[in-house]
């Protein structure tokens, strides 16, 4: 029964993804897809492993910089550029993860936040990242050498493909034996350890995977908007992805997608109102934490089950 519902959800998601660009402004959709993948990757860590990272902007942003750099400066083709950015995020995730998992709970959050701030300062200072300007005018180029990505619709389906790949991968991971161990660690780490599972190793792998997929999202974003900027590595971005997962439903498969759609839509409409975006995001945080902890998808699921 459970599988059936999830399968229906998948079909709806794929069909909606295929039809959407004919109904809604595609550039907006691509932004939403990139952030949806980012939020899903983040949720793998918070929702299924119970680790709150406050520094995921580091992976998202650094991958977007690396991709931008290798495409503009080294002339990499677009798919190789995205792969390079993603690989970088995987590597960075391995380094940060092995440091951060040494502490738990709130310390984990503070450590990831601090490490991400270090990346922010590096991006601000290093010449290759263009400082305050960021990297602009990243060419979209040709996918596999012949599909013109400057065409919006081509680009959209490419992004959709990347998103679905990441999404299915996360789904598979969560529902694999490995994913079950992650959930066991989330629920009761000492017990998981006593059953013979190496908790640290599992946490590290989950961290690396989450970081790498966040990087994939960031790398794709830099190609879509042809821009890598300091916003992508700023702590505000780390907060945003937490909010997306929280609004949609932490620990649900579809929640982060819904959350990302809502937050991106909100930002789109409030873009002209200055700091009100920040104020409203803060208010949504407060409301979610106080009365709406399961998020939209989480509450809906609870409602259906009742």
């Amino acid at each position: 029964m459970k599988l059936g519902k999830t399968a229906i959800g998948f079909v709806i998601l794929v069909v909606a993804g295929l039809v959407a660009p004919f109904l809604i402004y595609p550039v907006f959709l691509m932004k939403a897809l990139c952030f949806a993948l980012f939020a899903c990757a983040f949720n793998l860590l918070l929702g299924y492993t119970g680790l709150l990272s406050f520094g995921h902007a580091a992976f998202f942003g650094s991958a977007s910089y690396v991709t931008g750099y290798v495409i503009t400066q080294l002339g990499f083709p677009v798919e190789l550029g995205i792969l390079t950015g993603t690989a970088f995020a995987f590597g960075l995730g391995a380094v940060f993860g092995s440091l951060a998992i040494r502490r738990q709970g709130i310390y984990f959050a503070m450590i990831t936040l601090a490490l991400a701030q270090m990346v922010f300062f590096l991006c601000l200072q290093i010449k290759a990242t263009g400082g305050e300007d960021g990297l602009q005018g990243i060419p979209r180029g040709f996918l596999l050498g012949f599909i013109d990505l400057s065409d919006t619709l081509n680009m959209y389906y490419f992004v959709l493909g990347i998103f679905l790949f990441g999404f299915f991968l996360i789904y598979r991971v969560v529902h694999s034996p490995f994913g079950q161990v992650l959930k066991a660690i989330r629920e009761n780490e000492p017990r998981a350890v006593s059953l013979g599972y190496d908790a640290d190793w599992h946490k590290l792998l989950a961290f690396i995977l989450s970081a790498g997929l966040s990087g994939l999202a960031g790398a794709t974003k830099s190609v879509v908007f042809q821009l890598a900027s300091l916003t992508d590595v700023h702590w505000g971005m780390s907060g945003e992805v937490v909010l997306m997962a929280l609004v949609g439903g932490v620990g649900t498969i579809f929640g982060p997608v819904v959350g990302a759609l809502i937050i991106v839509t909100m930002e789109n409409y409030l873009a002209g109102f200055g700091s009100w975006v920040t104020i409203i995001m803060g208010a949504v945080f407060v409301v979610c934490v106080l009365v709406f902890r399961k998020g939209i998808v989480g509450e809906l699921t609870a409602l259906i089950k009742r």
Partner: protein, 295 residues
Amino acid sequence: MFEWLGITPQGLYGQLLVGLINGSFYATLSLGLAVIFGLLNIVNFTHGAQYMMGAFVAWMGLTYFGINYWWSLILAPLAVGVVGIILELTLLRRLYQMDHLYGLLLTFGLALIIEGGFRQVFGISGERYEIPEALTGATNLGFIFLPNYRAWVVAASLVVCFLAWFVVERTKLGAYLRAGIENPQLLQAFGVNVPVLVTLTYGFGAALAGFAGVLAAPIFQVNPVMGSNLLIVVFAVVVIGGLGSIMGSILTGLGLGLIEGLTKVFYPEGSSVVIFVIMAVVLLIRPAGLFGKEK
């Protein structure tokens, strides 16, 4: 001493002084975080916003009501403390039974609201706060010209830090506080009103951040984002020191401020990241932090 590196003694002492000032802010802020965390089990993400509010209350007091610096030094922390108490009574209180992470997320949301609100009203360009007349000028110490205001900042924050240490570690009230950290139920059973103690502690931590904000107002520009960037560094300081002891927070804060200052002399490019690098090293060698004990 280091002339062969192209570094003048004046430059060295100057940066050490800047480091000492930053260190006093790190110490004051991480002290407040440690006290709040000890009793409430909440990482107060609003701490940076409270620091910023302290500076703004002082600035608004001077600009709109002509309240001078010395009164602000008392009134601004009080105001920030009262706002903190209201937040604790209305919002934070609801989360004590839950995962610590929710407290972190709630205070993060509050910080966004406060910071966004100030940005909406005052913009991000920042306001100037003049150094009070009694503290203008500088004293010649022979090897360096010491600006009086900066000397005052270091002295004032050290005094406040040690007062806080004294209250927590050496007084009856502090004994209640420490007992509350160890075992709140038992303390309640002895007839101490623990919820009031918790509320006052949060108010005190917030007021401490507000006090640091007033001290900072004449040195840095008073602007809505002054708190958030500082807070992240303070988090790193807290990870390095561990939230276990008050003296630990003070020493770690000051020490890291000085190290940051030294880095500015010898390797300026690294000064913005040096604290984070130290954090990484400490995590490798002593994961619980220099003064911390793993719970």
